[in-house]
Amino acid sequence: MLEIKNLHASVEDKKILKGINLEVNAGEVHAIMGPNGSGKSTLASVIAGKEEFDIKKGTISLDGEDLEELAPEERAHKGIFLSFQYPVEIPGVTVTNFIKTAINESRKARGLEDMPANQMLKLIREKSELLEIDRKFLSRSLNEGFSGGEKKRNEIFQLAMMEPKLAILDETDSGLDIDALRIVANGVNKLRGKDNAIIVITHYQRLLDYIVPDYVHVLHDGKIVKSGTKELALELEEKGYDWIKQEATV
């Protein structure tokens, strides 16, 4: 589904990604781990199409289609969803209004009519129950005054509403207490299916106890230096990142 080949990316001439290779197939969950500053969030932003990053070399394709020339919203229309590490506030725009606009814009891009209001309501009810979201929450301004946990839960709520082909969760576990973590992970797990894929970016192993990955990759200094199965995450938890760094320099 997602194929990344020899990807090099920079921001203001600072090289951040230095040759990433990654293949994610439908039905798979990949975890990307690594120390701070290794390029995890940059990779997520580059896949989503954030303009401040320049792709210097390499390709990213989704279902065989090169993404480089596509605007962020076009990538979203193709089914890429990024759960932000730091979701932005949009004062005066309710959670409901925002998600309604997002869904209908994506439908429009696919040549569909707006989703009928009753269907939308039903979907909202269903997904907010899944994530144990209070109805009052839905009429609040997007992320304004939300706690860290509420922001992340809102991201996963949007994910659930939009049912993307490829979901990238950027540090979704940061700022979550253990109960919220379980709810969020539960929500994500229910969305796993044979037709979609998930990339989980995280610093800690903790989230992976709940969202069990098929593959784990370790990112260091802009490169994937080690790949393995879920056991790799446990090993990292035990030993820390230092041995990876040493291994990489050797």
């Binding site: 989503a48 962020p72 919203e73 005066g92 606009t101 997002a102 869904i103 814009e105 301004s141």
Partner: protein, 481 residues
């Protein structure tokens, strides 16, 4: 008026001012220039009684001694007041009883504006007194209103038919010597609207007036007087569109509101005068004096959405004279390209337990300058007066400016005054977030701007809110690359 997505999209594609067309109707225009003879001629043309003529002449005398104010944060080439024609009326002007008698070309203009009287009649509950250039030519729903004893007509008609009311109240809230533009208006006002709601009557429909400048080089001097008698209620809507012109057009209106004991007036404006083109050429100068007087337990709410004009100078104000009276001001001012707006309000607390609320939202784009200027004044006898002000500015791009000039004068120790101000910029992060959810940049801006303006948009009557939302989007079209 309900607009479909498709229509909205189509309009968004048209960046130029959409109402920029001329109407070819014969006009009866006075020669350019201003002197006593012209003032008398205007009064005569309108067949006014002598007291009115004298009133105008006094205003003119005062105006001659006054100077154009320069304190506002705007720069423009001052109009040459001797190079303006002060009166223009559509020519074939009998009083119409039905639409069939109205000049078909005029009806056509209304249709272009999307406010055909035909349509308006069908639209439930809105009576429209359309001011085309300066003289009212069509009034509808008059009968329904008359049954309740409500008077809603042109001010010229009111001077003829209800001289006692006009004579008693005109100039009581905005004195004829109040300021340069108010004095000018008092001398030469051509027409406008008059509304009287009798004691205890709740006006059953939103009253609306559409203004339109139409004669090249003709200043428009509207005069509006709304009187809500004890315990009555009225919601009044005013909407503006203007055809595009190269030379600047002067607009100096005066609006006076009087809310007697326990009365309530809601006055909503959507202003879309021609703002000038992208290079800052042309556009309307809008120098308006709007003020309301609240007696005991009365309430006046001003709500305005200002998207137009090259230069705006406008401060809808409330004089809270009666105890327990309430004044409110909700404003959205959008400036783009080279527009300049200096707008805000004055809340004058005279009575005890008076309360006022000011919510001002300024949106600046292009190379425009947007200023909020507001005065909260608490008189020494105004025990327990309270004010809450909130001024938010939203900037788009790096070339525009937002300014806030709050003035607070409290002469009573019990006064509670709060002022909050924020300035924010539409961030790339916000846009990217929306993009990532499949929302393109243009739509993202509309979403963010609507969210920013929501508190004020919510105060508008439904049909106006839709129009206002559409205007915001059109006004900001293409302002972020």
């Amino acid at each position: 008026m309900a607009y479909t997505e498709e229509e909205l999209k189509k309009e968004l594609e048209t960046k130029e001012y959409e109402y920029g067309f001329y109407t070819d109707i014969e006009s009866d225009t006075l020669p350019k220039g201003l002197n006593e003879e012209i003032v008398i001629a205007i009064s005569k043309k309108k067949e006014e009684p002598d007291w009115m003529t004298q009133w105008r002449l006094e205003a003119f005398k005062a105006w001659k001694e006054m100077e154009e104010p320069e304190w506002a944060n705007v720069t423009y080439k001052k109009p040459d007041f001797q190079d303006i024609s002060y009166y223009s009326a559509p020519n074939k002007k009998p009083k119409y009883n039905s639409l069939d008698e109205v000049d078909p070309e005029l009806l056509d203009t209304f249709k272009k504006l999307g406010i055909s009287v035909d349509e308006q009649k069908k639209l439930a509950g809105v009576a429209v007194d359309i001011v085309m250039d300066s003289v009212s030519v069509a009034t509808t729903f008059k009968k329904t209103l008359a049954e309740k004893g409500i008077i809603f007509c042109s001010i010229s008609e009111a001077i003829q038919e209800h001289p006692e009311l006009v004579k008693k109240y005109i100039g009581t809230v905005v004195p004829k010597k109040d300021n340069f533009y108010a004095a000018l208006n008092s001398a030469v006002f051509s027409d406008g609207s008059f509304c009287y709601i009798p004691k205890g009557v709740r006006c059953p429909m939103e009253l609306s007036t559409y203004f339109r400048i139409n004669q090249a080089g003709t200043g428009q001097f509207e005069r509006t007087l709304v009187i809500a008698d004890e315990g009555s209620y009225v919601s009044y809507l005013e909407g503006c569109t203007a055809p595009s012109r190269d030379e600047n057009q002067l607009h100096a209106a005066v609006v006076e509101l009087i809310a007697m004991d326990d009365a309530e007036i809601k006055y909503s404006t959507v202003q879309n005068w021609f703002p000038g083109d992208k290079e800052g050429k042309g556009g309307v100068f809008n120098f308006v004096t709007k003020r309301g007087l609240c007696e005991k337990n009365a309430k006046i709410s001003w709500t305005q959405v200002e998207t137009g004009s090259a230069v705006t100078w406008k401060y809808p104000s409330c004089v809270l004279k009666g105890d327990n009276s309430i004044g409110e001001f909700y404003s959205i001012a959008v400036t783009n390209n080279f527009q300049q707006a200096d707008t805000g309000t004055k809340m004058i607390h005279l009575g005890k337990n008076t309360r006022s609320t000011i919510i001002s939202k300024g949106i600046s784009a292009g190379q425009s300058q947007n200023s909020y200027r507001g005065l909260v004044q608490v008189n020494s006898r105004a025990e327990n007066a309270r004010n809450f002000s909130q001024c938010d500015s939203l900037l788009m791009g790096n070339l525009c400016g937002a300014h806030t000039f709050p003035y607070i004068e409290a002469k009573n120790k019990t006064a509670q005054i709060e002022h909050e101000a924020t300035t924010s910029k539409i961030g790339e992060d916000q846009i990217f977030y929306c993009n990532q959810r499949g929302i393109d940049t243009e739509k993202a801006i509309a979403l963010i701007v609507n969210g920013f303006s929501k508190e004020v948009l919510n105060k508008l009557p439904m049909e106006f809110a839709v129009e206002a939302q559409k205007l915001l989007e059109i006004s900001l079209e293409g302002s972020v690359g």
